[in-house]
């Protein structure tokens, strides 16, 4: 299958959420923390100089983007990182990198052909 036909299949609705979620330093710090190990919501909240309420908001946004999972053990809510949407986002990037590399090669061919014809 030509690589280009894949492009139409990309669904960006989910990726929008991922990219939005990554656009904030606190949320990136939460992900970085979870990359080391799973953590309780209260542990995460204690690590940031902002209210539990705002930490909770950031966590909910990350959950909606599918970047973290929450499991409930008694009174503890344990968070873990889900890297799958990040892989999807990096696939988008790789896809368009190839697309533009090929287009710029075609642009060069077009320009050089045009110059040759003028001579």
């Amino acid at each position: 299958m030509p690589i280009f036909t894949l492009m139409g299949e990309y669904k960006s609705a989910g990726l929008d959420g991922v990219f939005n979620a990554l656009g904030d330093p606190t949320r990136r710090a939460i992900l970085a923390r979870l990359q080391e190990s799973d953590a309780r919501v209260t542990d995460i909240a204690g690590a940031f100089p902002i209210s539990l309420n705002s930490v909770s908001k950031h966590i909910r946004m990350l959950e909606r983007a599918g970047l973290l999972q929450r499991s409930v053990h008694g009174r503890d809510h344990v968070l873990s990182l889900n890297a799958a949407p990040l892989a999807e986002a990096s696939a988008w990037i790789e896809h368009y990198r190839t697309f533009w590399e090929d287009r710029l090669a075609a642009l060069e061919t077009y320009i050089l052909d045009k110059k040759r014809k003028r001579k």
């Binding site: 139409g8 929008d16 904030d24 890297a83 990037i93 533009w100 075609a106 060069e108």
Partner: protein, 149 residues
């Protein structure tokens, strides 16, 4: 690698190519529908047709016709600074209305011109002021992807 170079490298979607032609000549090929029809035709595409309204706020349409499917692309020109910089939004069939932003810089490089394409996916309805956070988001993404590969 200095900090600026590193930031560029990790924003991931930056593609460069040096072409032995003037910046004007290359710049115009981005706005000329007849030129776009030729070089905006990827492998597997039979025919590309293009329409452009080459002014800031004007739109463009690039329709790529494959064997079985058609891939329309469209967007709006944000910056037209000939022959230095071109910025336009890029929306394609599969993005479900999601707007992406393409910035093309034309830099002098010896006898030729270095063309630098930066393509960023923007959250729907994002404003210019979000660009900074967005770029650092991409930089972080590259780190996370590497860490979880």
């Amino acid at each position: 690698m200095n900090a600026a170079a590193k930031a560029t490298a990790t924003t991931a979607l930056v593609v460069r190519r040096t072409i032995a032609a003037s910046a004007e000549e290359i710049f115009d090929a981005w706005l000329d529908p007849a030129a776009l029809a030729i070089w905006m035709r990827p492998t597997g595409i039979r025919r590309t047709s293009a329409k452009t309204d080459a002014r800031v706020g004007g739109g463009y349409e690039i329709i790529m016709q494959g064997d079985e499917k058609t891939y329309p692309h469209h967007g709006v020109y944000r910056v037209i600074d000939r022959p230095r910089r071109l910025v336009f939004t890029w929306i394609s069939n599969g993005t479900e209305g999601g707007e992406t932003l393409v910035t093309v810089d034309f830099l002098p490089a010896g006898q030729g011109t270095e063309v630098v394409v930066t393509h960023a996916q923007l959250p729907a309805g994002a404003h210019e002021s979000h660009d900074k956070g967005w770029t650092s988001g991409l930089a972080r993404l590259a780190e996370f992807s590497a860490g979880n590969a």
